[in-house]
Structure formats: C-alpha cells, structure tokens
C-alpha cells in the first residue's frame, strides 16, 4: 500500500518495525475510510497521548530532568538525550490491522491542540464507539459526529480528564479536608 497517496498525508515514519503515518487532523476520517477499503478492516485501538511538558524540567512524577542532575533529587542523571519535540499537545493514534497473509499493521496518527476537535470514525469502524468515548472521558478529546459522546469509565459528573498531564495524581476532590 502506498501511504503517501492517503488523503491528508503528512509524514511516514518507520521505527521499531512499526509504520506510523501522520495525517492532517481535518482529513483523518477520509484517510481512515481509504485504508479500510484497502483491507484494514480491523481497528484495534484508539489512543491519545498528552505531550504537555514533554522534555521539560519538573514534570510531575519525574526523577530525571532534561537539564541534567537535579540537586534536590540526588542520584539522578537527567535525560541522556533531549526527546524530539512534538508538533502539538495531543497525539491521536489509530492502530489498524489488515487480517491477511502476511498480516499488516499501521498506526495512523494526527495531532491536536487543546480543545481542537477531530472527526469521529464510528461510521468507519463501529468498534470506535467506546474507544472514542474512553479517550474523550480520560483525555478530553472531542470527537465530532460521534453519536453518543458521553463519559464511559468515569461518573457523568466528573470534573476534568485524568490522563492529561496537568491533572495531578490524587487530584480528585476530598470532601472533608482541612481546607474547608
């Protein structure tokens, strides 16, 4: 399959034996329809990643810091190399599988800013329904055209999206804390 013929093709990357195809955010559904008609009938997974603070110093939960040894955290060396910068805050990956011999896998990827919507692919693969709801729930990605974009794993009245990097660990409100 020639990846650069996909609608909205931006970039092709091969790493660790995996193919990653970056697609323009606005044309992701078109690209998905095309790859499905090429035999990628199985959508394994949709996953979003938050790159807020990628490679910066002092991200919550990090011992190693980009600028090297941190005196406040002994026995750390920092990154051995600065990680490559990302184009936008969120990446959204679609892991696809073509069930044929030999089987073929590809990751379609698009990049999103905060509050930037992306078109839903439920009409392409019905299984995307819950996968998109999960990413909306935990990461706050808005899928336009999703028939039922409600929270999936968390209660309906939950505040915030816990898998975002600016959502701290243990960040749920405590009812009877000293602050009250």
């Amino acid at each position: 399959m020639t990846w650069d013929a996909l609608p909205g093709f931006v970039e092709l990357k091969e790493s660790f034996g995996e193919t990653t195809v970056t697609i323009e955010t606005g044309r992701i559904r078109e690209a998905c329809e095309r790859v499905r008609s090429e035999g990628f009938t199985f959508l394994a997974d949709i996953v979003a990643t938050d790159y807020l603070g990628w490679g910066h110093k002092g991200v919550s939960g990090y011992i190693g810091t980009a600028s090297g040894r941190d005196l406040n955290h002994p026995s750390t060396q920092g990154y051995q190399a600065l990680p490559q910068l990302k184009p936008k805050r969120f990446s959204l990956s679609y892991h696809l599988l073509a069930m044929r011999q030999p089987p073929e896998r590809v990751r379609l990827q698009c990049w999103l800013d905060e509050d930037e919507p992306v078109e839903s692919v439920v009409s392409v693969w019905p299984t995307a329904d819950w996968h998109e709801r999960e990413q909306f729930d935990l990461m706050g990605i808005r899928f336009e055209g999703h028939p039922n974009l409600a929270r999936l794993l968390l209660p309906d009245d939950w505040d915030g999206h816990p898998l975002r990097k600016d959502y701290p660990l243990g960040g749920e409100p405590v009812r009877f804390s000293d602050a009250e």
């Binding site: 959508l43 750390t76 892991h95 299984t127 039922n148």
Partner: protein, 435 residues
C-alpha cells in the same frame, strides 16, 4: 464502494470486507453501535419494562451494569454501562519506574494475568531491543498456555454454573487448582506472579516443576473428556446455547471482536499463528474455528483451545527439559538485576543493583504497540517513552472492552434468560474492561 473479498485469508468460509452499517445483513444497531434502542412503536404501547441488571449481580462476572428493556420476556433494548471497576492503572503507571510497572498489567486482566504481564514486558523489551534467552522464551510460552487453560476453565465453570450446571463449576475448579499449584511452585504466588521480568524470568525454574507439570499434562485430556461428557450431551445446555446470541463474521470484525469470540464467528484468526511471538512459531498446534457465532460455538472454541494448549505445554516441557542449566534472563546489566551472590564480591554489581532498584533503568525514546493473543483475544500494549526511567504513556487495548461492545448486537431477539448465557459467553473480565 465495493471491495473484493481478501482471498488470501485462511478462512472456514468466504466473508466480505466489512462496511460500516448499514451494510447488508448487519445486525449492529444503526444509531449507536453499542446501544440497542427500543423500537418507537413499542415505546408508545407502554408495555416495555426497564430493569437494571447489575452492577452487582453474581452472573455479571464482576461489576457490569446492563440497562435492559423488556417486552414480556423479550429483550427489546439494551445499554451496557461500564466503569465500575475503573482503577486508573494507566495514570498510576506513568508515575512508576518501568521496573515497578510490571505488577500492574496483571491486575488489569486478573484472570488472564500471565498474558497481561507478558504483553507489557514484551513491549518494553521491544523498545529496549533486548534479546531474551531461549529458556525464558519457552518458559513464557508454557506459562501463558497454562494461563490460557486457567482462564478458559474459569469461563467454563462460571458460565455453566450460571446456566444451572453446578457440578461443572466444581470440576473446572479442581483442574484450575492444579494450575494454580504449578504457579505457586514457580513463582511463589498462585495468581499475579510477577514472574516475567524485563529481559527474561525472575528466577530459574524450580526443581520438581517438570514432573509436576507433566502429571498435569497427562491428566488434563481426561478432565476435558469429563467436561464434554457432562455438557455436550446435556439437553438443557444445548437448548440454552445453540442458536443464541448470534454474531456474524462481518459484525464481529466491525465490532473489534478478537480471540475465541471471533473464531466462534467463523473468522480463522489467531495472533499466535498469524503474527507469531514467543515460541509459537516453533510449536505445532491447531486453531479451532466454528462457523455459527452462537453461545455454543464460543464454548466449543474454548474447549478445543484447552486441548491445543495442553499440546503446546507438552511441547514446551520437552524443549525446556533439554535447556536445563541455561540462563533464564538476559545478561544486560543496565536493565537486569545482577545475580544475588555477586553483590557480596563485586562493586560493579552492587552499583548496578542500586541504580536499577532506586532510579530504574532507562528506556529509549519512542512509541510502540505490541499485541498478543491473550485468552480473551488481542491484548495490546501501547507505550510512549521519552527516554526517562518512567513511561510517558501506557495504554492497554483490552479484549474484554471490545467484547462487551458486541452485547447489544448479540442480544437482539434474545430472551431475558439468554442474557446471562450471552454475557457469560463473551467472557469479559471487568478489570480488563475498565482498567
């Protein structure tokens, strides 16, 4: 838009490439794929009764809530609600070193724990480009297959129990006990072993394991005959499972079904054979596949898989017996803990031990998706590393999550009594679904 069927696929029957609904013959609900809507004309009649099945019901295998609309005994509407066991494992793992993360996946799919552990360890090893010794690979294969039998035994015991065949439960748990004893022997824990380590195994295989395991391998085929004798000619069991909860191959793929659920719908697809990992490329086994896509076929696929798993375990045993005395973990001191006895004599080893335990090892920058065939289907692990000692993002592709997406499709034309049979046959583990 039409596409010719893929003829290269080894399938029991020809099936077309999937189209989004509405395509001809699709039973997937058209408004929301996972919600079965009550027909408007029925809603107007005032005959529809809405009941809440779960989240705490003995037959929901954990905490699954189903909002069911009934017209008499007929299920006319269904909405599956999940999330009652959401534990935030993915968030927690971002705050642990790679080394400490290994214990978490096991608690996600707590019935297929060994496979869940494997997929994470394999993903980290792929990022590290770490070579794993032969002995570890074969032992992993063996334990994963034991785990598959264990998982299917839990499925068989509980779903038969729910349909009234109580004795099945005792028989299945008798053999399950044998497997757990083997795990205890190897890892010291009956479940959630943390026996797989990045680089290989945590410890060498203990003496006496091979004869014990061989006893199990010799016994298990007899046990499987017992199960078949108890169930397969049981009129009630056949009546309640045959033709119930139908799922067509096209719908199964469109809904992301994998593993036994997919193979019971006639799609001959198994990652162990089609994308071999571990030692699966070197063992001989058959992939069972049934064409009807009903509850009975899902049970038969799992029964046949257990027999095949016993064969794989047997082949692994033969191989492992020849590998006695060989290393069980990779010799990469930047990732793998040095042997305990070296700590008293070697300064280098002590430093490495200290660094790995306190700070953790570093994993090269990159993103990766690794998929294996767990007892429930394609279990995937997506990792992002920024080159630091902790994962930047961990995500699990849970087969149970996808399996439950098919409930609305399977439940069409079902009676309320079939609901228990259908949910049981999809074999979802709620920990896996909710993570």
């Amino acid at each position: 838009m039409t596409v010719a069927p893929d003829r290269t696929m080894r399938s029991m029957r020809d099936w077309p490439v999937v189209f989004p609904p509405p395509y001809e013959g699709s039973r997937i609900p058209t408004r929301v794929p996972t919600i079965l809507d009550v027909p408007a004309e029925l809603l107007a009649t005032d005959d529809v009764l809405q009941i809440n099945f779960g989240p705490n019901h003995p037959s929901t295998h954990g905490v699954l809530r189903l909002i069911v609309d009934l017209d008499g005994e007929q299920v006319v509407g269904l909405n599956a609600v999940i999330g009652y066991l959401h534990t935030g494992f993915e968030k927690t793992m971002e705050h642990k070193t790679w080394w400490k993360c290994v214990t978490y996946p096991e608690r996600i799919d707590y019935v297929g724990y060994q496979n869940a552990e494997l997929v994470f360890v394999l993903a980290v090893e792929k990022l590290l480009e770490l070579e794993v010794p032969e002995k570890a690979t074969w032992m992993r294969t063996l334990l994963c297959e034991l785990n598959r039998i264990h998982s299917h035994l839990v499925f068989l015991g509980t779903s038969a129990l729910e349909l009234g065949a109580i004795s099945m439960f005792w028989y299945c748990f008798r053999e399950r006990e044998m497997i757990l004893d083997l795990y205890e022997m190897v890892a010291g824990a009956r479940m959630h072993t943390r026996y797989f380590q990045v680089g290989g195994l945590a410890e060498d295989i203990p003496p006496g394991f091979f004869p014990e395991c061989r006893t199990f391998v010799e016994w298990m085929p007899h046990a499987l005959d017992d199960y078949l004798a108890l169930l397969d000619r049981n009129a009630i069991w056949l009546e309640r499972t045959k033709g119930v909860g139908l799922l067509s191959p096209e719908d199964a793929i469109a809904l992301g079904q994998t593993g036994p659920n997919l193979r019971a719908s006639g799609v001959d697809w198994d990652l162990r054979r089609d994308e071999p990992y571990l030692a699966y490329g070197q063992v001989d086994f058959r992939v069972p596949c049934y064409p009807n896509g009903d509850v009975y076929d899902r049970y038969r696929v799992r029964m046949d898989e257990m027999a095949e798993s016993v064969r794989i375990v047997d082949q692994c045993l033969r191989r492992l017996e020849r590998l006695e005395g060989k290393p069980w973990i990779a010799d990469d001191r930047k990732v793998v803990l040095p042997p305990r006895e070296e700590l008293h004599t070697s300064m280098e080893s002590l430093i490495h031990h200290f660094k790995i335990v306190t700070e953790g090892f570093r994993v090269p920058e990159g993103e990766i998706y690794v998929a294996i065939e767990s007892p429930r289907g394609e279990s995937g692990c997506y990792l992002v590393s920024d080159g630091g000692p902790k994962p930047w993002r961990v995500h699990f592709r849970a087969p149970s999550f996808a399996a439950l997406e098919a409930t609305a499709t399977c439940m069409q034309d079902a009676l309320i009594a079939d609901l228990v049979a259908i949910v049981g046959s999809l074999d979802a583990v709620m920990g896996d679904t909710d993570r």
